[in-house]
């Protein structure tokens, strides 16, 4: 399975890259290649030009600000895993990353590639939703920013035009101690998630939930923030009844069928994983004293 022929371009800067993507016909950016190259090998996608982003230094890097983290699109998943500050500030991300593919996949795969390819099962897409991510998109016309709520237009279709390039994503970090949890269900370790849930949970001194972020992913084209449930949980005690009713919300999310997995099964997993994640996040925050089933 060899790909069709293409011209290879190696820009050294973002400006060069978007110039190429904006002018060349049937051009595609090459990031980690872990999703693009299999498609090309199968000839599911045939491109006349590949614009290799791997030698643009400005495109990678993790920058930690007081309340946000900014990650260059070409930052490798392994680099994120090995970033000690990121591990301290955002342990849920490290947990999510360990579920992405395999060592060899993470050694090349990038966050920008993952967010541009936009597979519904992408863990980094779930993290972006969990952390109210904002995407920076460059083109020959300049730069624009798109929030995660507007970023997913459809199944594997980001809100980007021909010639546009995702260059960075910003996530809002949670300050102070908080609970977190990430769980996904896949057939084998490293396989695409059939469904997954991630949560961040903060508590006030009285042990009531002060804030919570809850994302379910893999069910549909975009990850779903359960905002109604999040509001409902505020100022409540983290008990079984509360978590059960949140899980019921998760069971209502629309889920897609594909050739191998039914939407029904995904919808079955969502509340199970939600329940487990909520428990785990609360435990993680040291709030294990309350009654939980």
């Amino acid at each position: 399975m060899r790909p069709g022929t293409f011209e290879y371009h190696r820009p050294g800067s973002v400006d060069e890259a978007v110039e190429m993507l904006g002018t060349l016909e049937n051009a595609r950016p090459l990031a980690g290649g872990q999703s693009l190259v299999p498609m090309m090998n199968f000839r599911y996608g045939q491109f006349d030009h590949l614009v290799d982003l791997n030698r643009i230094p400005d495109l990678s890097g993790v920058t930690l600000e007081p309340h946000t983290v900014r990650i260059g699109a070409m930052t490798r998943q392994v680099a994120m895993q090995e970033h000690s500050d990121l591990a301290t500030r955002m342990p849920v991300v490290i947990s999510a990353l360990s579920n992405i593919g395999h060592i060899a996949t993470r050694n090349r795969g990038t966050i920008g590639g993952s967010l541009s390819h936009l597979d519904p099962a992408a863990e980094l897409l779930a993290m972006t939703a969990l952390h109210d991510g904002v995407m920076t998109i460059h083109s020959r016309d300049g730069e624009r920013r798109v929030g995660i709520e507007d970023y997913v237009q459809g199944y594997m279709t980001p809100a980007m035009q021909e010639g546009e390039l995702l260059t960075a994503v910003e996530w809002s970090c949670w300050d102070g101690p908080h609970g977190w949890a990430f769980q996904e269900f896949a057939r084998r370790h490293g396989d695409f998630a059939i469904a997954g849930v991630a949560a961040l949970m903060g508590f006030d001194p009285a042990g009531r939930i002060s804030r919570v972020a809850l994302t379910v992913f893999g069910l549909g084209p975009a990850p779903v923030r359960l905002r109604a449930a999040e509001s409902m949980m505020k100022e409540e005690l983290p008990d079984a009844a509360l978590f059960d009713s949140v899980a019921e919300d998760a069971a209502m999310i629309e889920a897609m069928d594909d050739a191998l997995v039914t939407g029904k099964y995904r919808r079955r997993l969502a509340p199970v994983l939600t329940r487990r994640v909520l428990d785990q996040a609360a435990d993680q925050a040291g709030r294990a004293g309350h009654e939980r089933s």
């Binding site: 084998r188 050739a259 199970v272």
Partner: protein, 780 residues
Amino acid sequence: MGAKYFGARVERREDEPLLRGQGRFTDDIVLPDTLTAVFVRSEWAHAKIESIDIDAACNMPGVHSIWRPEDLPDCLRGRQTPIQVPNAAIRQPHNFSVLAMGETTCVGEPLAVVLADSRALGEDAAQMVFVDATPLSVAADLATSIEPGSPLMFSGLTDNIAADVTLEYGDDTEPFANAAVVVEESFHQHRGCCQAMEGRAVLAQHDRDSDQLTVWSASQTPHMVKNILVEMLHHDDAMLRVIAPDVGGGFGPKGMVYPEEILCAALAREIGRPVRWTEDRREHFLATTQERDQIWTMRVAADDNGRLIAVDGDLIHDTGNAAPWGIILPYIAATTVPGPYVIPNYRLRLRSVFTNKPPTTPLRGAGRPQAVFAMERMMDRLAARLNLDPAEVRRRNFVQPEQMPYAMGLIYRDGAPLTYDSGDYPECQRLALEKAGWTDFSARQAEALASGRYIGIGLANYVEGTGLGPYEGSKARVMADGRIEIASGAAPQGQGHKTILAQIAADAFGAPMEDIEVKVADTAAMTIGIGTFASRITVNAGSSTHNAAMALRAKVLKFASLVLEAPEEELEIADRAVKAHGTNRTVTLGELRRFANGMPGFTMPEGVEPGLETADWFSPRQATYCNGSHIAEVEVDIATGAVEILRYIVAHDAGRLVNPMAVDGQIQGGVAHGIGNALFEYMLYDDAAQPVTTTLADYLLPMAPDVPDVEIVHMETPTPLNPLGVKGAGEGGTIPAAACIIAAIENALAPLGVSVSECPISPQRLVELMDAADSAKGAA
């Protein structure tokens, strides 16, 4: 000569080059001026080919030529490939042609072939070959394809039934009539693939001056490839050599002879340049033979002590769009069902049915996993009905060791009664149960259930005919430097035959292993042979190597006795020489070889042929039956349907073991394959027989976290059927695995009333079954 190496965990001589990346797989072999073949493959499950337009493709860069059916050399035009394992019961002996002739009957079938300078250029051109085809109705579903009036797989058939055979024995005309217990069930065992890590590959070269045609093929059966090529290409068999170099896994499907092999050989000869084809993974999904789709309907009658009275089964087997190995798969299944049990009355009707999917042929276990699944699940049903421990109901039905050799009731194809030669089935099961802590399990299960965990245990037994004939030969000779060379018809794909045969030869001849050289898988080294499949080589090639090496030793001693003027009893072989005891008279093996090759003036000793070379053809009278008992312990997450295998125990009897390390490896690897059969490997087709799972991301192979360390207990009941007492060991790991894993899942879900009669089973499917059981309860 002693048994220094037999039974030892000798490290393998195959390993070093492979570890250094110096293996020589077919695609690694480089010949100058080689063209790469790229096949244009059918996109239709069933269609009439109207035309193949190659005009645009012909002119593309790097294209040498493009061959459609009408362009083929005369010898191949319009010809069907012979069925390699014929059987009179096959009503419609349909097999493939090298290129589909006017009608394609499977997605992936070769329609035309491009020869180009590289794979990539060939694919560019193949993309530009336009096939005009009219879709025909598709025989997609096994159950409906059997019905009269259903779409025909191929327009030349009268119906889709390739064969309809009933095997039976027993004196009772109505064994079910008054039985105390009758249990009945249907099972669906779904299609699965080979997925050796190396795909198929072939490289063919023809020398115009000498007419020598050399074919390297990633094959388990180079001699069978040669036989087919001689027949189809009308090539002088003395000038045709087939070599299987290093082969990256076979498991059965690499034992077929395929269109791609035949075509590359024919075209290499036709155009005078080497031609290669290396299968890619997508092609492997489409065009390498597979296994199963089988629908089993079983009825079992027993008395109220659980003693079997009768087994009556109906097997509908999907043979796909061809029958290259006839009906061997369902036939083996039919003879395997009875297993280690005494069954007074037995009937199995098998129907082999054509569908528009790839052909099914033996794949690790060769129909036995399916037979064992059906029978062992029925034993569990019987146990449940009678409220007996599943191990107990089996115990009550075992063939006892005193009954060996045991004619189990069926008459084999060759007219001889199918006879288990040796084995102690009760003891084997006992060992497995002991290792697994079977009797303690219910307490552990209850404890787990109390804390909301669902664990289960399952048991399955099997008896496997190994060492399939008709023969395998070995030659032994003394080389000029005094080392010994063994040549054999074995064609390994990872089994370690070179090491095993060296162990056997070293012991039989009386030389250190380092002095034994082993050649395999080359029709020039052994002119006739069968190959490596069906767990047959240790028995057949092992025995012939043993015999040939013993005979060589005898010859050496006879000649040395003359040369050293000493009686044979006073001679010893050591350090590549023969010494006469108590003297300083010695002759090297190299010198002896020159002597034996003949020197003027010397008279040959009586009754001895010249040369230090021997050959032996071991031809087994019948199969030798190995057996095993497997136990799986699983945990099911009832919320998601996820299954984890907590423990896997194997008690295994393959007679005497030449290399226990290699046997353990075969068992561990076989169990992994069985786990795939039970939980992961679902080759999905849609309603139009279009393959859906065509990548390794969709078709799931068990990976390292999915396969536990198998706990193995060995028994050795030597067979009297060969000089070594050995039996085959390559497939036993797989054969009962799906049965015991599914049994364990059912056992775990017993509180929920779930019954599982299919495999493989996915978490999603388990949830469906749990929901259905729940509704049934609610409705009740």
